[in-house]
């Protein structure tokens, strides 16, 4: 029965016409993505910088959720510790900027590593480190299944959280400010619109990678590993490495989102690593619709908008947030995307 945890997640569509742009689903998807792009651009030219930054925040959270969705939705690996990668990505951006600003090396032994304020370097480092961390955590965690997997991923994230909280070098609980947003050659990243477009590109890329991956042989194997790993094994493919690779890719996407988030806020702190954030990310994925390409985007838009709008109305806004979330679970099966765009074809 514990295996139930991984069942019931939505399946990816294997029929070629499922993604036709003229279906109800296609229209909803294009509308969502189009609005996310057009509204901030319009707001920017009307002079409302705030809405551009809000859109950047939604985009980044959505990207982090796209990463988690790859693990939860497509891979059936319910990770309760993705804040670890989000936070690590953030800390890479923060620590790198800190050393670049101070002109001190990050490490001197066995070889000297300087800080950098170049986003490409930051992203590369974040991707590599998050990948390595996920490789280590995944290698151990994937020996377990079901609720045990949920809890062991949480345990690893908690270790990192407590470590960051009490390690004084990079600010501990106070966190680490990034004085100047890390830059790119030829692009003014401090401009709100440019930075939004970078984030938007990141989100689209993450979704494209997920989509391509799931249409490949690898994706078919991952789906099979989720649905029936015994059958996969009889086909001569071991499910373990397939899952591990998917887990690592998922962590890298979430980690890159974390790096973007740190630069957006100009700040990184242990709250990015907390189990609350892991939980929120999971809620966003489920809210949008598990295992649906556009689910994380829909979930992130709804979640962040509610957080922002309700907060302005009442100091008990979290009560109403809870009621809305509960309403979605009870009355909109398969998340917001399921409600907007209908069920997936072979669900």
């Amino acid at each position: 029965m514990i295996n139930n945890t991984s069942s019931g997640v939505a399946k990816i569509s294997l029929t070629p016409n499922a993604d036709s742009h003229f279906s109800r689903k296609g229209i909803v998807q294009i509308t969502l993505l189009g609005l996310l792009l057009l509204l901030p651009v319009t707001a920017y030219f009307l002079g409302h910088i705030y809405y551009v930054n809000l859109a950047s925040r939604i985009t980044i959270i959505a990207m982090a959720a796209v990463g988690l969705n790859l693990a939860i939705g497509y891979g059936g690996m319910v990770s309760f510790g993705h804040a670890a990668y989000f936070g690590l990505g953030g800390y890479v951006a923060g620590i790198s900027a800190y050393h670049a600003f101070d002109f001190t090396p990050f490490m001197t032994w066995p070889f000297s590593v300087p800080g950098s304020d170049n986003l490409l370097v930051v992203w590369l480092a974040a991707a590599i480190l998050c990948g390595l961390l996920a490789l280590a955590i995944g290698a151990i965690s994937l020996r377990t299944t079901g609720v045990y997997f949920i809890m062991i991923t949480l345990a690893f994230a908690q270790m990192i959280y407590y470590f960051a909280n009490s390690w004084p070098t990079y600010g501990g609980e106070d966190g680490l400010p990034i004085y100047l947003r890390n830059g790119l050659p030829f692009v003014d990243t401090t401009n709100a619109l440019s930075y939004f477009l970078i984030c938007f590109a990141g989100l689209v890329l993450a979704m494209a990678i997920t989509s391509r991956l799931m249409k490949s042989r690898f994706g078919a194997a991952l789906t099979m590993a989720r649905l029936n790993d015994v059958r996969l094994a009889t086909a001569g493919i071991s499910p373990y490495p397939i899952r591990l690779i998917a887990f690592v890719i998922s962590a890298v996407i979430t980690g890159l989102a974390g790096a973007l988030y740190a630069d957006l806020n100009g700040f990184v702190s242990p709250t990015m690593l907390s189990w609350h954030f892991s939980g929120e990310l999971m809620v966003i994925v489920i809210l949008g619709g598990v295992g649906r390409l556009y689910g994380p985007l829909a979930g992130a838009i709804l979640f962040v908008m509610m957080e922002t709008l309700l907060g302005g109305i009442t100091q008990y806004w979290q009560l109403f947030l809870g009621l809305v979330l509960l309403g979605v679970v009870l009355f909109a099966k398969h998340g917001v995307m399921g409600w907007l765009a209908g069920r997936e074809l072979n669900e």
């Binding site: 062991i152 407590y162 809210l287 009560l319």
Partner: protein, 306 residues
């Protein structure tokens, strides 16, 4: 470090463990019987503490307050099961996670709406304050000894309930085969409500008892929820015996780690750094313990079933 201090710290660990057991046993029962991951279990802990504090303040009697706390938590549990959880049994686990996450928000902010932002006052009754002197001239608070006693009594009670009563039989049947006991004519929805209320009541009892030693405030259930999850995963989900063993292990390891890790690091580091490093490692200790156990025993120490 003297032997008496070690014994006292072991007692502290056992006491922490017995309270964790009250939380963990409900959590593991609910998971075992209904297959539900209940993130809102910490909310029942909070409900128990708040109801106890409010009723104790108005009646002046801790015992009445305690009864009210357990009743309020069990009632909250039954209501949650009837209104929300019932609709989610045939749904994926992830929907249950989302629903119970939403319940945390509703309970926390609802409590703040009713009782305000300030922490509530709740102290042990006067006849349980003070300390006893143990051999080796160690003073130990009576109230903590009582907590250990209550914890042991509840474990025995739960054991008898599950192994000797009709309800227990149904719970065991439900754990091994949920479809089957429905077919056998057991009123399964009543059983589920009952088990959920029982688990919530146990959490409420823990909240009420520990609330007298701690701050009764919004969000007090969250740290203990995470610890309780660690406990049931170490012990093996669905196993009461595992929950008891896991709770004691976590309680003792956490307590001893907090005391002896800083001392250990002082042996070869400057004192100020050693306390910091030791404290940081102590905070991570139970998670390290859990990861190590799961790495070797992926289904916990006392896996009840698969």
């Amino acid at each position: 470090m003297s032997v008496t201090l070690l014994i006292e710290q072991l007692l502290n660990g056992v006491q922490l463990g017995t309270m964790l057991f009250l939380m963990a046993s409900g959590l593991t029962l609910i998971f075992g019987v209904m297959g539900l991951i209940n993130l809102a279990h910490g909310s029942f802990y909070m409900v128990g503490a708040y109801a106890t504090a409010a009723v104790t303040a108005s009646t002046g009697s801790f015992l009445i307050g305690l009864g009210a706390g357990i009743a309020a938590a069990a009632l909250a549990g039954a209501l949650v099961e009837l209104i929300v959880i019932r609709r989610l049994y045939h749904r994926p686990h992830l929907d249950q996670v989302l629903a119970t996450f939403a319940l945390i928000l509703i309970f926390s902010e609802g409590t703040r709406f009713i009782f305000g932002s300030s922490p509530l006052r709740l102290s042990p009754p006067s006849w349980l304050t003070g300390f006893v002197t143990l051999p080796g001239d160690t003073r130990y608070p009576i109230y903590r000894l009582v907590l250990i006693g209550v914890g042991i009594a509840i474990s025995i009670g739960l054991y008898l309930l599950i192994s000797r009563t009709r309800l227990g039989m149904r719970i065991r049947a439900g754990e091994s085969d949920r479809e089957m006991i429905g077919a056998l004519g057991v009123n399964i929805s009543k059983l589920y409500t009952l088990v959920f209320a029982l688990g919530a009541g146990l959490a409420g009892l823990a909240g009420a008892l520990v609330g007298a030693l701690q701050s009764v405030q919004v969000g007090m259930g969250e740290p203990v929820l995470i610890l309780a999850f660690v406990v049931i995963v170490i012990g093996g989900i669905g196993s009461i015996k595992g929950a008891l063993f896991g709770a004691l292990l976590v309680g003792i390891v956490d307590t001893l780690g907090r005391v002896y890790l800083p001392i250990f690091f002082r042996a070869f580091m400057p004192p100020s750094e050693a306390t910091g490093v030791g404290a940081a490692l102590a905070a991570m200790l139970i998670y390290i313990l859990m990861a190590v156990i799961l790495a070797f025993k992926p289904k916990g120490l006392f896996a009840a079933h698969d």
